[in-house]
């Protein structure tokens, strides 16, 4: 990936001035290197003081956190706390929303994703996304996976690429005999795995998953979760989920967002970010404890 790094414009030295204080309260874990078990862990995203506004209303308060390579990072919190806004800010999927405005810096491997010269098409090519509702194209299963590689000129060995992507998405055995059939004939769980296969067919660096299992039944959910354990060896995963058990099962680190009062507005705010085990067994913020023990949300 680093060989392509120069294509992302806006190169600048990562600012390490991590803000530890948020509305006067320390954010547990954010930027706190001592919590890292392995100090040499590679950082993919450095989110620095990011705030998101939609017009005059603020959706996300000043957020600072690091996301590490080959880990699953879960984002949990009650509805409307800015989880999805945060996730979609990581590959600029919010750009098309009218009046969207982002302050602060999202550094992806040291490159400012929101620098004026950054090519958002290139950003999304490296940082793929899987959505809440399975959204396969109304094309054949094969063409769903082959579409993006074709766009990017990866025509050599396309069949092998499609097969590999479907295998890595644990879908190959179910669809290998009907690759030419419409993807819309698949079950919801299969469609979602197809969307994952479609995303990994172009070998992204990061995979963002926005509540990928919330529209699925328990068995399909289990297969998606299992898949995430294997995918993290190849990719860096960030998953938004409103299901705390899911976060506990799949994530290495978990960020807890909640609505916090900022002036007169209620703004999505990062409350705590820690290794999943720590967050769930020994949360340092009382709001986290209340949430994971079911006191609110």
């Amino acid at each position: 990936m680093s060989a392509h790094g120069g294509e992302l414009a806006g190169e600048r030295a990562p600012e390490v001035a991590a803000r530890l204080r948020l509305h006067g309260q320390p954010v547990a874990g954010a930027g706190d290197r001592r919590l890292d078990a392995e100090p040499a862990r590679e950082t993919v995203f450095e989110i620095r003081d990011v705030a998101v506004h939609y017009g005059s209303s603020q959706a996300l308060g000043w957020t600072t956190l690091d996301i590490h390579r080959h880990e699953v990072t879960a984002v949990i919190g009650p509805s409307g706390c800015g989880k999805s806004t945060f996730l979609r800010s990581l590959n600029r999927m919010n750009d098309t929303i009218p009046n969207f405005r982002l302050e602060g810096e999202v550094l992806y491997r040291g490159h400012d994703l929101y620098a004026p010269a950054t090519n958002r098409v290139e950003v999304r090519r490296r940082i793929g996304m899987v959505f809440q509702k399975p959204n396969p194209f109304p094309k054949s299963i094969y063409d769903n996976v082959a579409w993006a590689p074709r766009n990017l000129g990866m025509r050599a060995g396309l069949d092998e690429r499609v097969e590999r992507a479907l295998r890595h998405a644990a879908l190959w055995d179910e669809v290998k005999d009907r690759l030419k059939q419409s993807a819309l004939g698949l079950s919801g769980g299969q469609q979602q795995r197809l969307c994952i296969a479609r995303a990994i067919a172009i070998e992204p660096d990061v995979l963002l998953l926005d509540e990928p299992a919330s529209a699925l039944d328990p068995i399909a959910t289990a297969s998606i979760e299992e898949l995430m354990h294997t995918l993290k060896h190849r990719y860096t995963l960030v998953i938004v989920t409103h299901n705390m058990q899911q976060a506990a099962r799949v994530a290495d680190r978990t960020a807890f967002f909640a609505l916090d009062l900022s002036g007169s507005q209620r703004v999505g705010t990062l409350i705590e970010y820690a290794p999943t085990r720590t967050l769930f067994t020994n949360p340092s913020d009382p709001r986290t404890r209340d949430y994971i023990t079911g006191q609110f949300g």
Binding site: N91, M93, R125, P136, W147, A148
Partner: protein
Amino acid sequence: MSSIGSIGSRLRDRAGAHSSLGDRVMYALCATGGLIAAAVIAEMIYQVVHGAGPAISRDGLAFVLHSRWNPFFNRFGGGQGLYGTLVSSAIALVLATPLGISIGLYLGVMASPRVRAVVGPLVEMLAAVPSVIVGFWGVIVLAPFVAHHVEPFLHGALGFIPIFGTPQTTGLSLFTAGLTLTLMVLPIIAALSRDLFLTVPRELTDGAAALGATRWEVIRGVVLPTTAAGVAAAVVLGLGRALGEAIAVLQVIGGGHGISRNLFLPSDALAPRIAQEFLSPEGQEIPALFYLALILLVIELVISVVARRIAGRFSVHRTVTT
């Protein structure tokens, strides 16, 4: 019990008297309207077929291909009108389809909401301009411009192709008729395809964008394929408008006789000839004009059926999405 009884009587009352009467009146009005529409269509078809009877029994299907139109010698043929109608409509379709889809893409996919709110209604207003005014503009602006600039240029650059022959000085030609029709078909295709592009689910375009697709790749890979059938129906509807247009074409086509490969010569078409000749028919002209009308009617009915079929397939395709 008494309260239940009174509710029961009120229920009967509502069902029996007021609303039922209103329902029946409304039903009768609507049904009558529908029946009248069906009856009018049937009556029109009958009149056209009946009026064309003598010409049909005299010339048969040969009329369709015969190109002479000479009331003094009682020689009539629909060939030239058919040729003019088909060629001018084809020109309109070839030009208006890519242009209209481009405008639709701009307004439906690319333009900011503000631009969309201003330009969109303007495009629709273009469709509302009366055809006699479009034809008027065609005579005083388009025809001279075409005669002095477009036709000489095309003749000079592509003159080796027979359709770009020697231009006339007036600019009243089959080509100008095609351009005028383009103007009339364009807003139909543009407005309909814009509406279709706006129905493409956000999840699909987002999904494509999240795969690192450029705007053009999203359009080509997702927007156009999911709306293709609807856009095709829009184009066919535009074609229907072009084929049936009488006044604007009459004003700019030049009323020439004979079939020529040269698009820059005056020509004639079915609808304008019917409109013009019917005012002062000569000899046995009237049955022949009815025959022309019959040809036009058959073409338009076929077009209507085709558009309906395409649109029907389209709606089925859309509902399959889970």
